[in-house]
């Protein structure tokens, strides 16, 4: 974290005010998750106050729930693939849209954003109609869910990558070209490093969009239910709800572990290179 001194962008008082705002914001953001954490240990089948006593039986029940685990793993698979595919498509497309001049650029850009507008349930039913009442009958599976998820993730990826690519100084690319680099090399060694933050954001967003998506998954997954579909079905019965809550808290814990681990690996890498952390 940089020093507490003022910079051109913000005064010291400004920085303090913004920090307070940020901390309050993050605290409020985590409040529902904290409440879920509390209720995951609550000895009651319905999540209401007052608390009824401490128990770990919900965690045990969740651990032994094979269907839950299977659904969860399916969600992870679909989400990972979705994020990679959508980001890859978006990087290519946004490069073409910001670097090449051709007619219909605006139209195509707008087109890639249109899926954002359509309620996921409409995309779900539209795809169902195509797969089941279209020219070729296609069996429903995780693959069909993936198709739908890429459709809805692509716009988010575009929205993150287009402005970033658009605002990269062209003179950098021109310089590379003048130095004899081919377009591919320029892309690889000049553009890509500059857009890595946007790529990472895109991967993250596409993953998050897919992992909790309900409408498309429920219509297009048939017998291979993903986690949100399984959850939605289970909470109809009050006794089935409490084992679901531990999954939420475990996922939160896992994502923290990922961040911590990444930080440890980075620090180790920096130390090996002789860099000191926190410049």
């Amino acid at each position: 974290m940089s020093a507490a001194g003022a910079t051109v962008a913000v005064s010291r008082r400004g920085k303090r005010a913004l920090s307070v705002y940020f901390v309050a914001f993050v605290a409020l953001l985590y409040l529902p998750s904290v409440i879920l954490l509390i209720f995951s240990f609550n000895d009651n089948t319905v999540p209401v106050f007052p608390l009824q006593g401490f128990t770990t039986r919900w965690y045990a029940a969740a651990w032994h729930d094979d269907l839950l685990r299977a659904a969860f793993v399916r969600s992870l698979k679909v989400a990972s693939l979705t994020s990679v595919v959508a980001t890859a498509f978006a990087v290519l497309a946004s490069y073409a849209l910001t670097r090449r001049r051709f007619r219909g650029r605006n139209a195509i850009t707008a087109f890639t954003l249109v899926p954002l507008v359509v309620p996921p349930i409409v995309i779900a039913v539209a795809l169902l109609m195509l797969f089941r009442k279209g020219p070729v009958q296609i069996e429903l599976s995780l693959a069909t869910v993936l198709v739908g998820h890429v459709v809805i993730s692509l716009p988010y990826a575009m929205l993150l990558l287009v402005p970033r690519l658009a605002s990269i100084d062209r003179s950098l690319e021109e310089a590379a070209h003048d130095l004899g680099a081919s377009a591919v090399t320029t892309f690889r060694r000049v553009i890509v490093p500059l857009i890595v933050p946007a790529i990472l954001s895109s991967l993250l967003i596409a993953f998050v969009v897919s992992i909790d998506e309900y409408a498309i998954a429920s219509f297009l997954s048939a017998n291979s239910e993903t986690y949100p579909v399984y959850l939605f079905g289970q909470i109809r019965q009050a006794q089935r709800l409490p084992p679901m809550i531990p999954v939420a808290t475990v996922m939160l814990g896992l994502s923290f572990m990922v961040v911590l681990l990444a930080e440890v690996v980075r620090r180790r890498g920096d130390r090996r290179l002789g860099l000191e952390p926190g410049t």
Partner: protein
Amino acid sequence: MIAPGGLTRRGFLAASGLTFAGLAAGGALAAKKSPLVVYDWAYYQKDYKGFAKFFQTYGVPTYVTFNTDQAELAKAASGAVQFDLTHPCIAYIPDWKDAGLIQAIDTTRIPNFKGVDKSLLGPGVVGGKVYGIPWDWGYSTPMYRADKFKPKEQSWESLLFDKRLRNKITLYDEGVAIIKIGGLINGVDDPNAMSQADIDKAAATMIKAKPNIASFWQSETQAMQDFISGKVWVTYAWPDTFAQVIANKAMKGKPVVYMQPKEGMLAWICSFAMGAKAKNVDLAYKYLDVAYSTPAMEFLVNVFYTGGSAMTKAVLAKSDPKFVKQFRLNDLQHALKPPRVWLERHLPNRVAYLKAYQKVKSA
């Protein structure tokens, strides 16, 4: 070329790899699986101890969750689900048959079927053949917190139009039920046979009642959470909703009344049906036989507080006498008769009910 701090590609991949490994390692134990596919409500799946005999002998079937009748009918009709057995409510059986989704059931192949009360069989018969066999049944009626208020009279109308209950009622998000309630308040002869005029009047009544209705619940959990926390004082409830609420620790000592309104209660029967494209017909019949056995029926009553269609002496002997009496589990002949109870039936103009409900919700 500054790598973003804290999240180098290597770090991210390393961390994710560990996560996946951890997940894959756990859960190596898998119970014996059966090829049977059962499209059923969440309550009646692999944790239903009453089916233990089937699980032990043939393995655990694959369950696909059945959420609501209307949506699942649509989903199945569009070919989204492949199943051997399904479990819609009996008023929808003719629709499943017309859509070509189910085939006739030969009840002679189910030895335990003899325990089923004959008076319940009618609705599942289409064109002389048995398509839906009744399994579980229950009432749908208001349940209220007697510690918070006393209703002016035991009726739907008094609840929905009592000014003290502003924002204090929650009803099931199901168009047919809501329009039927409106019809009952308006005094129609039979809520299962309402004309378009009746339906429009019922919708208007329910729109007038909206200030009292805080929400329409999709899941029992939602209704119970709000009821127990005191957010609402009245909820549309099934018998198992009532039983779970009074058994809840947070409701200890707080009186709850499962009302018998003067206009009448609504009631439902849900039934098993055999998929037209079922791949495991023999296995399905074995499953059904276990479903009508004493352990399965008794589990229904004692754990779900829901009526079963085969209330044999053996089952009743094991059941809680309090519930048997309150819900007339031992008197199936009269338990579901009008005008005290309006059992659901197939509605030829169901679409009209649903369109009217859409008007109620949009108002």
